[in-house]
Amino acid sequence: MSTQIQEQETETETETEQTSEHQTRRLAEKRERADMRERAEADLSDADEIVRLKIFRYDPEVEGKKDPRFDTFEVPFGKGMTVLDALIYARDHFDSSLTFRHSCRQAICGSDALFVNGRQQLGCKTQLSDLEWPVRIEPLPHAEVVKDLVVDMEHFYDQMEAVEPYFQTNELPKGELEEQRQTRENREKVKMSTRCIWCSACMSSCNIAAGDNKYLGPAAINKAYRFAMDEREGEDMKEHRLNIIEQEHGVWRCQTQFSCTVVCPKDIPLTEHIQELKREAVKSNLKFW
């Protein structure tokens, strides 16, 4: 009770201290929001189809939102609308506090991997028409939720860094300005593995990674594959890379459940790459004398 009175006091103080400029801006914003709502109501009455979204909400910084819950939003459906489009509509028209990551909207930035209808998918690449309605949108499983649909990606990035995800070689070409050429065949071999957008959908789907925090995970192993299979890095660098991935929590944790391969939005054959690295690791350790 006492806190409430205090809040009121501070509010009136700031109002009298602030110039009316601030006040007018706030009122303008309020009017704009009301306009958006009105427009949304018009949209909804005009729309042939309305899609219902059940969105996971959680905000640890606001009292009363600390308990996770699902909010339902109704969004007018248009042909070609993606999950991300619907989320943006809901945020802009109904609740500006609805939080989710997005950037490029064309499946290349890897920001908006979400758990849509029980499966890890990119919001911008998933058509609403392909889904069962109402659409249930949650943050990625097996990651800590920071707010609403935003999860903490720090652990995923740590695992990615652990495999040294950059080109390195001891075999530089002779000439000072000579290029490091790659054969067409070798490029084809690593082609799919280069497509990773670091969205963490595979890591989130992996049952083993969920139970073993040290496991590198499909994305990091795929990154290791991309460089271990690159012939320009040379033999000793390949050995170094295999040393990293054949550790206890490296490739051998994979139990070929194929969950990562199923969810990967860039269609990378992750399990295939992990299996190939397992064989490479065995080959490099086998001695016949």
């Binding site: 959680y58 640890p60 910084e61 996770p68 758990f115 029980g118 499966r119 499983p141 097996h142 800590e144 939720v145 920071v146 903490d152 049952n207 969920a210 139990q255 070929t256 459940q257 194929f258 969950s259 391969t261 199923v262 054959p269 399990t271 295939e272 299996q275 190939e276 397992k278 064989r279």
Partner: protein, 130 residues
């Protein structure tokens, strides 16, 4: 980031309806593997009655076979062993990197073959049980 919310394991077995073929194959392979390990112990126990003498061994086996439950368990054991073998072959191909794009079909094929073998074995195992 001040605080974050860990949703724990609710995403795992609570969502079994959304499991993919590869996931089911893994679960069944683990399950059948544990059942077979359990069976090995009873198998050794039954076989070791032969160390007493031949008559004891025969008596034990006849006693077990007269139980209806054991007859049904034998059908179950065959189903478990058949799936574990067939999926084991599938996993062998997965390890060799052969036909990974057909791994889900291989799992379904293993399931269907297991079902066929099990059904075909029922007359043999349950003959004279009723």
């Amino acid at each position: 980031m001040s605080q974050s919310y860990d949703r724990g394991l609710i995403e795992d077995f609570g969502r079994w309806q959304e499991f993919s073929a590869g996931m089911w194959a893994w679960i069944f392979h683990k399950f059948t593997g544990w059942v077979l390990i359990g069976y090995l112990f009873t198998h050794i126990a039954v076989l070791s009655t032969a160390t007493v003498d031949g008559a004891t061994y025969t008596q034990t086996l006849q006693g077990l076979e007269s139980l209806l439950l054991v007859r049904f368990l034998e059908v179950g054991l065959l189903a478990v062993a058949a799936f574990h073998i067939l999926n084991g072959i599938r996993l062998l191909f997965v390890d060799l990197g052969v036909g990974l794009e057909a791994q889900d079909k291989a799992f379904y094929a293993a399931l269907i073959t297991t079902a066929a073998i099990t059904v075909a074995s029922i007359p043999t195992f349950l003959m004279g049980a009723f």
